[in-house]
Structures are given as C-alpha cells and as structure tokens.
C-alpha cells in the first residue's frame, strides 16, 4: 500500500506510462492526501494548544474540578476498556469487527435491570449490597455471554472465509436485530437502574472528594482485566486462543479445536461486556434498548486507540479515551469560546477514532500496519 504511493510521489509511477492525459498525471503527483493530512494535523494541534492555554488562563476551574473530571474519566475509561476487550479478543482471533458487541453489553445490563429492581423493591439490594452486586454481575455476564455465543453460532460462524464486507454487514444487521429484539421484549422506555445506598456519596482521597461509585467501577474493571490477562497468558484456553489468532489452520493441525476456541472467545468477551454493564450503570444509571450503541462505538475506539488485538492496548486505550472525553471538551474547547462544550464530546471521541486511524492505524501498541487480508 505504502510503496506504490511513494512511487507516485517521485514520479516513477507505473500509471505515468499508461495515462497520457496531463491533468491526471498532475493530480496523481500532487500529494493531495499529504497536504490534507498536514493541514489537519496543524489545525488540530493549534486548536488544542490555544484552547488549553486559554482555558487554563481563565482560571474558571480549580484543581479540584480537574481532579474530579480526571477521576470521572478514569472510571468511565475503565468501563470502555472492559467492553473494548470484547472487540479486541474477537478481532485478535477472527479479524472481524463484532459491530454487535455493544448490543451484547446492553443485553445483560437490560435483563439484570429487572432483577435489580426486584431486589431493590424488596429491600434486599440495600440490605445485602455485596451479595446482590455479585448476583447482578453473574446474571449480567451470563446473559451477555449467551447472546454472544448465539451471535457467533448463528451469524458469524457460517461466514468464516467470506469476503470482509460480508461479516461486517451481518454484524450491523445483528446489531439492529438485537436492539429491536430487546425493545420488543422489555419495551422502549428508559428505565432508572436502582441505586445502591452504600455506593452513593464521596470519600476523601488524598485531599480530594471522590465518588464512591467511581472507585468501585475502577477497581472492578481492574479485577476483570487482571482475570482476563491471567486467562490469556496462563491457561491452556488462552494459549489456544493466541494460537488460533496466529494461524487457524496450523492451530487446528496442532490439535486445537478451533470452533470451540472461537466460541470461547466470544463467550469470554460477552461475559466481560455483561459485567462491564453492571459497572456502567453505577456511573450512568439509565438502561434502555439503545444504551449499548454509543458505549460500543466508544469501546471500539478505545480498542483501536490502544492497538486492536492487544489486551494491554484495550486497557490503555480505554483509559486515554475516558480521560480525554471527560477532560477534553472543557479543557480544549472552553478556551476557544465555544458555548456548551460538553455537547461536542462525541466529536472528541469520534475525532480521536478518525485521527488514530488516519495517523496510526495500529494504535499505541499495535503494529503500524495490521495484517491485511
């Protein structure tokens, strides 16, 4: 991909001999892409630097404000990181983007809403918060796992080896299908997930007041991540998963059951997404059928940012994205005199996605150019 283009720029392109018309040669020699990229990079760096300096100069926000934003970003980023693991695992092994992963996340979370509200109305939730939370985690993980496994079985397995666009379009269809299935099941309204009293309020940490729920979310995510890391690096299943990702045929020759390994990958990714859902509702406590879409895209961004296929990358990408999302709009945009900067938060997330893919498609920890198929 890179080589022929650089040839173009030096004027030794193969196309020069073929095309006789001058304007085409001119257009091909003109590094349009490079000009646009450099301009883009300059404009964005300029905006970010000027915005940051100007915001800090106004002194409207205290250090405590920034710390709060930062911690909120870390908590949110940890959830993204856990969802991102699902994308990364599947991509690492099948090289497809499981576009419906956000809906897998929604499925578990939405379903456990009914258990949580049952527990809450009987008072069990606040009486025994920790067993209740564990129960919710398990249920959510189980439902999401089930959905992920069915998804793999019905939608993706038949398409192994099909041209790339085919599984992607299937995934988009599956995403719509799951959203509207759960809308049909549970209704279209937005539900408030019941709060757990002991997680409300703040505690003092190093002189700053930090929300308890944010600490729980961050720690929970860390535990989940460590568990996954252990599974991938230290167990037989993890080794099988890495082997299948490396080369499916050879792995099969080595006696690995490829189908079972792939379905386990989906199951693990799904279970993590379901568990992440319970963390998610501690931060944003509304559940409805469309709740998975935006976190799904953001988690995908996190996975790409860290280097898709890499588990450490997903964690890193999630944290960076979460922090940039929480701090970014206010830090970069207030100084530029843009009203209600938080409205533009999606631009920061999607902007990061676009920029990473343009400038470094491999992400932080990935190879500069991923395997092409």
């Amino acid at each position: 991909m890179t080589a022929p283009l650089s040839l173009n720029r030096n004027g030794h392109s193969l196309t020069t001999n073929v095309s006789s018309r001058n304007y085409r040669i001119l257009f091909e020699r003109l590094p349009v892409r490079r000009i646009i990229l450099i301009t883009l990079a300059l404009v964005i760096s300029y905006g970010v630097i000027v915005g940051t300096v100007a915001t800090l100069q106004t002194g409207r926000y205290t250090t405590a404000d920034w710390v709060n934003l930062f911690v909120a970003g870390v908590a949110r980023g940890s959830v993204y990181a856990i969802i991102a693991l699902g994308y990364t695992l599947v991509y690492g092994i099948l090289f497809i983007i499981n576009f419906a992963h956000g809906e897998v996340f929604m499925a578990g979370t939405f379903t456990t809403f009914f258990i949580a509200s049952g527990l809450s109305s009987t008072g069990v939730l606040n009486q025994y918060p920790i067993p209740s939370l564990i129960l919710l985690f398990l249920c959510s993980a189980l439902v999401s796992m089930l959905v992920a496994v069915i998804l793999e079985r019905v939608a993706y397995r038949p398409l192994r080896g099909a041209p790339r666009l085919v599984p992607l379009i299937t995934a988009i269809g599956a995403s719509l299908f799951l959203q509207y299935t759960f809308r049909g099941f549970y209704g279209a309204q937005v539900n408030a997930y019941p709060n757990i009293d002991i997680l409300q309020g703040t505690i003092s940490l190093g002189g700053y007041n930090v929300q308890k729920s944010q600490i729980l979310v961050t720690l929970g995510a860390l535990l989940l991540w460590l568990a996954l890391f252990f599974v991938i690096e230290r167990t037989k299943l993890g080794r099988a998963m890495r082997a299948v990702g490396e080369d499916r045929e050879i792995a099969a020759l080595m006696g690995i059951n490829v189908d079972r390994t792939i379905i386990s990958t989906f199951a693990i990714g799904g279970a993590l997404a379901g568990a992440a859902g319970i963390l998610f509702v501690q931060l944003f406590n509304s559940v409805w059928f469309f709740m998975g879409f935006i976190p799904g895209i953001k988690a995908f961004t996190a996975a790409v940012l860290g280097g898709i296929g890499s588990i450490t990358g997903a964690a890193l990408g999630g944290l960076v994205l979460g922090i940039l999302e929480a701090v970014g709009p206010i830090l970069f945009l207030t100084g530029l005199g843009i009203p209600s900067p938080n409205q533009l938060q999606p631009i920061i997330s999607f902007g990061i996605l676009v920029l990473v893919l343009i400038f470094r498609p491999g992400g932080f920890l990935g190879a500069p150019e991923e395997k092409r198929a």
Binding site: R24, L159, A162, L168, F350, G351, I358
Partner: protein, 574 residues
C-alpha cells in the same frame, strides 16, 4: 444437542421462533392485519409458515444422512414445535397465576398473545390445537418436499402471492377506487374476501403453471411471430414509463408522498451503490452527505437562513438564492467535503473505513446539533421554512409534482449509474474491488479511483438531501441519524450490491412497504436487521444480483457458504 434427532432439533427451533415472534410483540401487532378477512390473520400465517418450514427442513436429510423419511420426520418436527408453543403458553399462564407475571418483564407476553396462541380456547385445548396444527402443517410440508419441483413452485408462488396481495390490500383499494373499478368483491377491511382469495389463488396458480409449461413469459412471447427480444424490451420500458407517469393520478396524495420518499431512497441507494457496490468501500456515514445536502440547500434558499438575516419569528422577505442556483453549489460543497473526508481515510482497510465514516456521520450530526453552530444551523430545531423548488407555474408543494421532479432526477441518476458501471471508470472500480494490489499493478491509481467513487456517492447523496429538505421544508438534526445510513445500506444490500435494478426493488420493499403497512412500521428496523443478516448468510449477492459481484462473493469459498445455509437454519450440530 447432538443426541437429539434432526426432527426434534428443527422442531424445537421452530417452536422457539414462534415464541420469539410472540415475545417481541410481532404476533400481537400482526393479528390486527387480516389476510382473508374474518378467516385468517397475518399472525396465524406467520405461525403456519414457521411450522411448515420446520417440517420442510426436517424432511430434508441431515448432514450425515444419505436419505430421510419425510412422512415421519416432518410431522414430528411440526408436533414438537407446536408442543413447545403450547407448553410455553401453559407455563406462562401458570406463572402468572402463581403471582409472577411474566408481563412485568416481557411486555409482549400478555393475555392477548396467549389468546392468539391458544386460538381463544383454554390453555389445554390450546396445546392440543398447536400440536395438531404443527403435525398437519408438517405433514403438508412433507408432501411439498416429495412433490415435483414444478408443483412445489406453483404451490409456494400461489400462497405467497395471496399473502402479498392481501397485505397490499389498502394500496390496491386506493388504486381501484382511483380508477373507478369496483373492488368490494375482492377486498374487505384491509384483507381479501374468501372469494377474492380463491380468485387470486386460482389466477396465480394458472399463470404459474402456464409459465412453467411454456418456459417463462419471455420465451412464451418470443414464440409469437414477429416478436423479437428487442421489441419486448422496448415494450417493457414503455410500459414502465407509462405506469410511472400516470401513477400519482390513480393513487391518493398520501401514496404519492410515499412514492416520493421511495424515489429519494432510490436516489440515495444509487449513490451509495457507487461507493459500496461498484468500488467496494463500505460507507456507514452516508448520512453525512445527505445532511450536507439538506443543510446547504436550507442555508442557501430558506428565508430564515442567517445568510439573509432571517429568524424563525422574523423571516426575511426571501431566501439567499433560488433552488436551481443553489443545487449546483450544494453539489460542489458535497464534492469538496467528500474529498476532504475521503482523501485521508480512503487508504484504510474496508472495515476500518466503515467505522471511520460512521464516526464522520456522527461528528456532522453533533455539529449541527450543537449550540456552537446554532446561529448558523439552528441547533436542534434546524432550519425551517425552506421554500419548494420553483418550477414555473407548478406548485411543487403538491406531492404529485414533487414526485415527477424526484422521478426526473432518479432517471438521470439511473442513466449515469448505468453508463458509469460499464465505463472505463466502472471497470477500474471493479478491478480495484476484486484485488487492490493487482489493480494498482495494472496501472489503476487506487486512491484516485476511491476518491472518485466516494465523491460521486457524496454528490448523489447530497442531491437526495437537498430534495429531502425541500420536501419536508425543514432540515433538522433528527432526520440525519445513523439509521438513515443503515436504511440506505439495507436497500443496497437487499437488492444486491452493484445491481441497479436491485436498488429500485430494495427501496420499494424496504421503504415503500413499511409506509403502507402501518403494523410493520413498528418493526421496520427489526425486520431490516433480520434482512441484513439473512441476506448475508443465505444470498450475499442480493435479490437481483449483479453477475460479476455474485461471482466474487461465491468464488472464494463455495463450500462454507452453501454449508452455512443448512447449519444456520437447522440450528446446533455436532
């Protein structure tokens, strides 16, 4: 799973599908739509189709079997499916009686649904009815399986046509009223009458039988002296032209309006088809160009636009410029934005490109929604009071006139898309789509051609957006969600990527039908999801495949894809 015989697995799957259809609320909604008024509703037809499909699948030999025993396995599968449904109804009723109402969680599992599944009888009688129904339909399916292909084709076509005609009853009623043909003998309250059903069935069966006997309509006509291939084509084109011209005058304004919407989607579909079908670039942010077109036309022509200093409450005397002057400018804007977005990202691999374009779509939507650009683009309210395109003395607010306008642009785009496909450029795209590296080696500048495809798609999408805005006389962010991109994608995929007639069929089916069948409106996106998955699994080249594209989609692994069809339908194995 593997211990269960095939008929049991297929039967259970069928039962689960019926329960699923009930739990998402489809059966309840569709029970309001009669097929044969007073005799059978669409919900019952759906259940019957599931039972018959189970039976039919069970009749086929399994993967490891050489032959099957259809008379035994098909009814058994139907019975299993019916029994599962019956047991489900009993379980739900008992649960509700025990104080755990399933309705608290699954809103659609309510008495109305249970009533549909028991056919209004008690739960135990309901179980018996379901089992018998499943068995009988399974047996019918086994006869269908063992019959000759011609008989099978006649039966299936006849039944499908009756259901289709019945579903489209409101449309036919309007058209017959418009033409002054009495139709009360055929249709009654949105469904067919018993006599109507018999007439439609007999006519279809006879026609299908005749066509099968003579080897297709075209062949039959060619046997008439002096009729040539060319004459037939010409006649077909002329007929299509006449129908399209008189159509708005025999239907009411509502249907003309729907036709306008279908036309818009054909326009958008033709544009996206260039990007996805010809060049093989999956663009999920197509709505971005749609929005650019709508907003550009709004800003340039509305008298509330900031360009003329108007506001919603105090609009200026007139817009900045005339629609017909604004249209080329809008297209130029779209082209520029297309190049700006396209040039940096088009080197990305297919699936990354899809996500990046999706990101761009969301960025544009966030921008138009924001307070930041509110003074220019109106924030959440958008820009209102966009004037209709001036067209001499004609009132272009009338959906019928607008229909002709959109039709004209559809015809132009159709012509361009067809010519483009077989041009040098079109062949370059095809080469690039099949193998980028080889295409590059053959002297095709991949980046240039990708940008070209992207920009052409952008221009057509923008044209669609401009008409959309003038049609609604308002451009607001609510109209430019990701779902628009997915709708258009579904249109292209259903018809067949790269196929121009496919786009037209796709729009009619996916955009036209749901507008007319209000019970389907609620499940529109649900059904889109099912269609996208089903098409990709079973027929990735679409309903009306483009020959070259079909070969591409099948050449790599013929085996897995055919194999898939079994597995996906049959459910679990080994």
């Amino acid at each position: 799973m593997s211990r269960l015989p095939r008929w049991a697995r297929v039967g259970l799957l069928g039962g689960f599908i019926v329960i699923y259809l009930g739990a998402v609320g489809m059966l309840e909604s569709f029970s309001a739509r009669p097929i044969v008024t007073g005799v059978i509703q669409f919900s019952v037809v759906l259940i019957a189709v599931v039972y018959m499909s189970s039976g039919y699948l069970a009749a086929r030999p399994g993967k490891d079997e050489l032959e099957s025993n259809p008379r035994r396995s098909a009814p058994l599968a139907g019975v299993v499916a019916g029994a599962l449904v019956g047991v489900f109804v009993i379980a739900m009723t008992l649960l509700a009686e025990a104080g755990y109402n399933p309705r608290d969680m699954f809103i659609a599992i309510n008495p109305a649904l249970l009533d549909i599944l028991t056919f209004g009888q008690s739960i135990w009688a309901g179980l018996v009815i379901e089992v018998v129904l499943g068995g009988v339909l399974g047996l019918a399916a086994s006869y269908l399986y063992t019959s000759s292909p011609n008989t099978r084709s006649i039966v299936v076509t006849t039944l499908t046509t009756v259901v289709m005609v019945a579903l489209a009853a409101p449309l036919f009623t309007v058209m017959f009223d418009g033409l002054g043909i009495p139709d009360s003998w055929l249709f009654q309250r949105e469904g067919l009458t018993v006599i109507g059903a018999i007439v439609v069935a007999t006519a279809t069966a006879f026609l299908k039988w005749y066509l099968l006997k003579t080897g297709g309509a075209r062949k039959a006509m060619l046997q008439v002296p002096k009729v040539t291939e060319k004459n037939i084509n010409l006649t077909l084109w002329l007929a299509a032209g006449v129908v399209l011209t008189v159509l708005p005058w025999i239907v009411n304004t509502f249907i003309s309006d729907v036709l306008g919407t279908v036309g818009l989607y054909i326009l958008l579909g033709l544009g996206l088809n260039i990007v996805v079908g010809y060049a093989g670039l999956l663009d999920l942010g197509y709505v971005a160009f749609f929005a650019v077109g709508a907003y550009s036309i709004a800003v340039l022509t509305a008298n509330t636009s900031f360009l003329v200093g108007g506001t919603v409450n105090a609009p200026a005397a007139e817009g900045f410029m005339n629609f017909w002057v604004a249209l080329p400018i809008t297209i130029v804007i779209a082209v520029i934005i297309g190049v700006l977005i396209g040039a940096p990202v088009l080197r990305l691999r297919g699936d990354y490109l899809a996500i990046v374009t999706l990101g761009f779509g969301e960025i544009i939507r966030t921008l138009v929604l924001s307070d930041w650009l509110k003074p220019y683009l109106g924030g959440p309210q958008g820009i209102t009071q966009i004037p209709p395109p001036p067209l001499g003395p004609l009132n272009t607010r009338d959906p019928r006139i607008l229909y002709y306008l959109i039709l004209a642009f559809v015809v132009i785009s159709f012509f361009i898309a067809t010519r483009l496909k077989y041009s040098r450029v079109g062949r370059a795209w095809a080469a690039m789509r099949e193998d980028e590296d080889v295409a590059e080696g053959m002297g095709i500048s991949v980046v240039l051609y990708k940008i070209l495809a992207f920009v052409m798609g952008a221009a057509v999408g923008c044209l669609g957006g401009a008409f959309f805005a003038t049609k609604l006389s308002v451009a607001n962010p609510g109209s430019f969600t990701l779902l628009v991109s997915i709708n258009v994608l579904a249109v292209v995929v259903l018809g067949g990527m790269g196929s121009i007639p496919g786009v037209i069929v796709g729009s009619l089916v996916l955009v036209g039908l749901p507008e007319l069948l209000r019970e389907f409106g609620e499940f529109r996106l649900h059904i889109y999801g099912i269609i996208l998955v089903a098409i990709m699994l079973l027929k990735p080249e679409g309903l009306i495949p483009d020959a070259r594209r079909a070969r591409e989609l099948h050449h790599e692994d013929e085996e897995p894809i055919t194999d898939v069809a079994h597995v996906a339908i049959a459910g679990g194995h080994e």
